[in-house]
């Protein structure tokens, strides 16, 4: 496991989320240290996205979510969030500069971009190999390009905790590998804690320190290899997931990094 500075962490204690009579998350316990990537896997409807939205403070819950930054408890920590997809009309006239500037600057983008802003936006995007996308419309980006732009936004200013929701969906194998590599570099360089929700079991296993199998509650947790060979995983996902049977092979080979489905 990655060695951490031990001064910041996110601790989730007995987290329960209910929508009416439905229990979406039941007594979830999770501890993420800085510099650590936690992969959260589970079938559809397992509560993965709800977990992220609860950490973001969007959903009422029972239990405790404690953020500790530099040794002190923080009520409103800076959380970087990369959504699975954008819910807007793809034909909207929103450029990448508009999107990034609206998130990182106070200057209203509809009034036009002032002189300093393009340089600022460019410098943010350049860290994620996305500076050439400035003038493109957001709706025209490929899945991988969009994820890198969203990651650039999430990392500005640098957050204590980074939440990634299904980055594998809509990205080709090469784009996904680049994305994981960037996230891996980030946590090493900036000591950021990362929670990564994914369906991409094989691809993610090379990058995460711990894997959590979630199905309303935590079914299994630990080293990716141990969790992936756990029979509960096969039971939870069922035989519908094509790469279950390939997992041991994928994990033992370098090419396993790039698995996609």
């Amino acid at each position: 496991m990655q060695k951490t500075c031990e001064h910041c962490c996110t601790k989730i204690d007995s987290l329960t989320v209910r929508f009416g009579d439905n229990t979406i998350l039941d007594n979830v316990n999770l501890h993420v240290n800085c510099g650590e990537i936690i992969g959260v896997v589970g079938p559809n409807g397992a509560g993965k996205t709800t977990l992220l939205r609860t950490i973001l403070g969007e959903i009422p819950y029972q239990g405790k979510i404690i953020f500790r930054i530099s040794g002190h408890e923080s009520k409103k920590p800076k959380i970087g969030y990369v959504p699975q997809k954008l819910q807007f009309d793809l034909s909207s006239p929103i450029s990448v500069t508009d999107l990034v500037a609206s998130a990182i600057s106070q200057h209203p983008v509809w009034m036009g971009i002032n002189k300093e802003l393009p340089e600022k936006v460019k410098s943010v995007l350049s860290l994620f190999s996305a500076e050439h996308l400035l003038e493109r419309r957001v709706g025209e980006l490929s899945g991988g390009e969009l994820q890198r732009v969203l990651l650039a936004i999430a990392m500005t200013p640098e957050p204590g905790l980074l939440l990634l929701d299904e980055p594998a969906s809509g990205i080709d194998v090469r784009g996904l590998s680049l994305f994981y590599q960037i996230v891996d570099d980030l946590r090493k360089k900036h000591d950021i804690a990362v929670i990564l929700v994914t369906h991409d079991l094989a691809g993610v296993s090379s990058y995460v320190d711990r894997l959590i199998l979630l199905n309303r509650s935590v079914i299994a947790e630990g080293d990716p290899k141990e969790v992936l060979s756990n029979e509960k995983l096969v039971k939870t996902f069922g035989s519908s997931l094509w790469n279950i049977s390939c997992l041991p092979n994928l994990m033992s080979s370098e090419s396993g990094k790039n698995g996609d489905h």
């Binding site: 959504p83 009309d89 999430a154």
Partner: protein, 258 residues
């Protein structure tokens, strides 16, 4: 005519600004319902014995705006279904009340509007509204854009999305209701939607989107007003015809550029 021109110059850019977000947020049906709620607003005003039903129209439209916003966050029924049901109810209720003893004809002026009958007091209202919308756009423009792209992303950037969505819809309700006498219930939505829709055919970023929408809105507004004066037609509808013309031209231009 001077007052009508002044009112047009104030109202059209206002509608263009609001329209850009209405179209981006896919709220076109909602603003249609908002416009139609004016009928019931008038009816309630009549029942309560108000000489000027503007207050009851505003109260109902604002309540509708806030109610729909709350409902959107809690119901699993698609919001356009909820709006469809609500519009049918509210329009029917308004017509039933207003048509008692064959009295509906008194209120037909609300349906098509009359911009030439604008009063200096109404112009003062538009001036205040224009200033408020401009300040709001300056302060909350980025937050609105982020919210429209992804509410969770906006919340992770410390945007209070409920406040943003609610304040925007309330502002929209106010502008629509105050303008309804001028433009008319039947076509007020077109005036909101057409300049923004036309601008989308040309623009590739938010600045161009806003600028083109304002230009198209003012241009169709002034041309429509002048032409309606000479043709002796309803100003609101004539303005909308010119805006629709702009939409067709920009759609062709947009295709040609591709």
């Amino acid at each position: 005519m001077k007052n009508a021109l002044l009112a047009t110059l104030l109202v059209t850019p206002l509608f263009a600004l609001l329209g850009t977000m209405v179209v981006n947020n896919r709220m076109v049906f909602f603003t249609d319902v908002l416009g139609h709620s004016a009928l019931t607003g008038i009816a309630i005003g009549v029942l309560l014995g108000f000489r000027d039903p503007t207050l009851s129209m505003i109260v109902l439209a604002v309540a509708l705006a806030v109610g729909v916003n709350i409902l959107k966050n809690i119901t699993k029924t698609p919001i356009d279904t909820v709006l469809g049901v609500f519009m049918a109810f509210i329009v029917a209720l308004g017509i039933v009340i207003l048509s008692r003893q064959g009295g509906f004809v008194k209120y037909t002026s609300y349906l098509i509007g009359d911009i030439l009958a604008v009063t200096p007091q109404q112009i003062a209202w538009f001036f205040v509204l224009a200033a408020v919308v401009l300040m709001y756009w300056y302060a909350a423009g980025n937050a609105m854009l982020l919210t429209s792209v992804n509410p969770s992303l906006a919340r992770s950037r410390m945007v209070n999305t409920f406040l943003i969505e609610t304040s925007f819809t309330v502002l929209l309700a106010l502008v629509v209701i105050v303008s309804i006498r001028l433009v008319g219930i039947l076509i007020i939505n077109s005036l909101l939607v057409l300049p923004a829709a036309a601008s989308r055919n040309l623009a590739r970023n938010m600045h161009a989107y806003t600028a083109w929408a304002v230009v198209i809105s003012i241009l169709s507004g002034v041309t429509g007003l002048v032409v309606s004066y000479y043709w002796g037609t309803a100003s609101g509808a004539t303005i909308v015809l010119f805006a629709a013309g702009c939409y067709c031209v920009t759609a062709l231009l947009g295709r040609w550029r591709k």
